[in-house]
Amino acid sequence: MSTRLATGGRRIDRTRPLDFTFNGRPMRGFEGDTLASALLANGQGLIGRSFKYHRPRGIVASGPEEPNALVGLGAGGRFEPNARATQVPLRDGLAAESQNHWPSLEWDLGAVNARLARFLPAGFYYKTFIHPRRFWKHVFEPAIRQSAGLGRPPREPDPDRYEQAYAFCDVLVAGAGIAGMQAALAAARAGLSVWLVEQAPLPGGRAPVDHGAPGAALAAALAAELAAMPNLTLRLRTAAVGLYDHGYVLLDEALDPAAAGGLRQRLWRLRARQVIVATGAIERPLAFPGNDLPGVMLASAVRDYLADFAVSPGDRTVIVTNNDDAYRTALALHAAGLAVPAVLDARPEVTGALPAQVRAAGIRVEPGRGIAAVRGGRGGVGGVAVCLQAGEGAVLEEIACDAVAMSGGWSPAVHLWSHCGGRLLWDEAQALFRPDPDRPPTGADGRAMARAAGAANGALQAVAADARRAAEAVLRALGADPAAAPPLPAEDPPPEAPILPVWVMPQGAGPKLKAKMWLDFQNDVKVSDVELAQREGYESVEHAKRYTTLGMATDQGKLSNINGLAVLAQARGAAIPEVGTTTFRPPWTPVTLGALAGEARGALFQPLRRTPIDPWHAANGADFEPVGLWRRPYCFRRPGEDRAAAVAREVLNTRNRVGLLDASTLGKILVKGPDAGRFLDMLYTGRMSTLPVGRCRYGLMCSENGFLIDDGVAARLDGDTWLCHTTTGGADRIHAHMEDWLQTEWWDWKVHTLNLTEAFAQIAVVGPEARRLLERLGGMDLSRAALPFLHWAEGTLAGIPARVFRISFSGELSYEVAVPAGRGLEFWQACLAAGADLGVMPYGTEALHVMRAEKGFIMIGDETDGTVIPQDLGLDWAIARNKPDYLGKRAQMRPEMTRPDRWRLVGLETLDGSVIPEGAQALGEGTNANGQRNVIGRVTSTYRSPTLGRGIALGLVARGPERMGEVIRLAAPGIAPVAARIVSPVFHDPEGRRQDV
């Protein structure tokens, strides 16, 4: 069992004990512990259950590569699932819980899956899709959905804050081990601005653990020098999680909310001219039977826990390896007074300097040996069965032990290098993939934007020399003088004896043993699964990955990928570089959604646009709805009214007396210049150049595809100036559309455009009493003779400069009055005061919609959806046929656009007066090739009309206008078909008598 030793632990402060709980059990650790080290110190070997088979699992690693020790942290809104215990700093009061088990960690019913393993092979999930078909829907899917996913998401909003920040530098160095610090120092000494980021809470990397006092001294000396450089920024607990185009790097910085004003994480968006990838390497597990038991750990992790936290994995640790490096663990355990019963080395001959030291310490070294079985269970390791690596697994000897330290060699952490196109090469001698210096990720100038240094570059031993080389390359790329950076104090250790690649242990293992050799601990993928995938035809590494789910867990296969592809290569009889790696994609470690959202939540999620009259709306019962980024009153509810009642009241009041609409959100684009008329003739389907000054004209805009994109009224202000009204949502889009054509097609035309949407408040005064109300304000002659329908005039109303347009979107007598934005509220209140005895009332967007539908006026986005041309909507009258050209004209001549059976606009009236459901489809005869009912049209707008006292709808129906009076059937999901008659889309005042008075 693991425990805390009496002395040692360079990262812990024994004078500061911290209390925490695991699954409610009180435990104690020290300041400086990680949750993982504290759990081990408390003898907690069993940390969680695996995803598929619910196997008992313990801590394997000591860093971000940890696959097993995922825990839930905290409670309520601060609950965080899937936290890696190896990266969680211990703090007082921390509450951690294990995941993926029921009813308890020790007694988990899901573990029955392990007995069913035979029936849950690789690709099990996909096989359930195939047959029988009904089983997927009724048996497999509910069961799989129920058991899918690790952890559980928090239910409450996160009370902590996350922020994002931007930074720029000449050189970003990712990883503050010896290589990273050397490279950063060289760049800083050359006068460049340098960022050095390290995911761990302290710099130094593996040196203090692997190279003892000299390593620690070197790390400390480098750190001290770095701290003195004013042009260098060092950020700890900050992981470079992604490298993107043109030197863009995402950094995820973990913070302590208590010390950082409630800030939990900061996401840096950094732009670096050059990047040095000094992210180190990750030790590989060995694939031997039972390698997933709690108590089997990476050899490097064992010495990390020993040196950093004074935690022993057990009293007797067997070491199994294929390389020299793991002998450091034997020496560390021995020095701590712990027993190492044997080092099982797969290599037939063991000759290196480190093994010699181990032998000299009296530790038994067994060359050519492997592990055939690990004895024990959820309580931990009890011993190992030794076999020949060369054989099939016959047991030579049983060795009692309570921990196993394994090392299959090291894989450079090439993730960051690979994210943006950096390629890898297979280093046969070291049995690892490392960055190919000739195929680096390249930047905007087509040259290398990143270099790898140290262990990340495959330089597992000659770290310092490699870092120097990388730094010099970066300095040259940035035009700095490498000679300006004096050589650094560092020597690399003597070389180690070569590794023997071992992908399966023992090499001749049969299927039974291979079904117990884990590759991916988190997703439960074994050697047998990868081989099955290969046999079933999944030869590509990308296919095999998805079929087996190897490397698809939250650790993204940091421990398993290389072993998995090597097993696949063996199964295929192919060379490892021939099989290649899967794609390394960002992020390096999971980034919480909170950090990605940053401060963009709640009120800060997006800007809110308010009209100048918004304060009045808010104070007077407005029931707002979002319209683009604007908020507009949907209706103004009075006490006791629901929305429908308020809308009905607003419609009837406007039709019978007078209503006020805040139309300020309407787009207002000024188009001016000698060529403005010619330009607008190209933009609108109608002719705007012939519009007399003082007049208004309704116009349609189409894309080059011929489809309707916007509509609105244009007014000619003077000889070379037009004011074009757009829809609320269209203002910015149409302004950009105009600029696109002006800048990139007709750049020699003399036209300026200006988006004046926010410069004016616009108030529609609508209804039979509208003229009387406005006349009371005084200042302008608004009689029919002075200002007829579709004319505009400028003057003052109530002492406020005003432009008055006689346009109507309701069919009523209507004036739209534009006043300077700053006086909009004043004008609104003047109208309310002047019209009090006339029954004036504000109305909202829904009443606007109902009234326009009663008149058969189209709404962009309701009657149009990007596939509708003006001719579909009976708007041929707004197209100037004799115009030689306009945007969309040629497209509207295409055969598809002139087909006689296109769906065209009609009115729809249910026979029983009911309101047709939104989204209803018009049923046709028969079915299509997929067995689905044919449809002949759809409803585009549907309302209860307060004016007519029944349901009305607009819709697009095949050959609609030719079918007046015909009864069709309309259906929506879950609703019985409704019979409706095809009628004219103009339900109210078809002669237009009410608006032109």
Binding site: G247, T442, A736, T744
Partner: protein, 109 residues
Amino acid sequence: MLLLTCPYCGIAAEETELAPGGAAHLTRAGPEASDAAFDAYLFLRDNPKGPHLERWRHAMGCGKWFLAARDTVTHEVYGTYPAQTREPPAEVVARIRARHPGWSWRSAG
């Protein structure tokens, strides 16, 4: 996250400041165009693996449209230039040819 320099205001703009506009140097086909010519103008685009001339708008900046020569494989930027031209400037073509000997624009037709 591309970084493109707006040739009007000189700012090296982040991709989030820019709005993409598809292929550059299209010749508009009007009402007199044949079905085939209009079809080509409206729908048919080169999809080159390599240098691509494309439209960008500095939407969150000066508002101007400009053109960029960008490599679709490596994101190398051979240059950005104002949109008021029917063809890429000679120096941009030269930079592309330095990397892709013999390259000519609209080589695909």
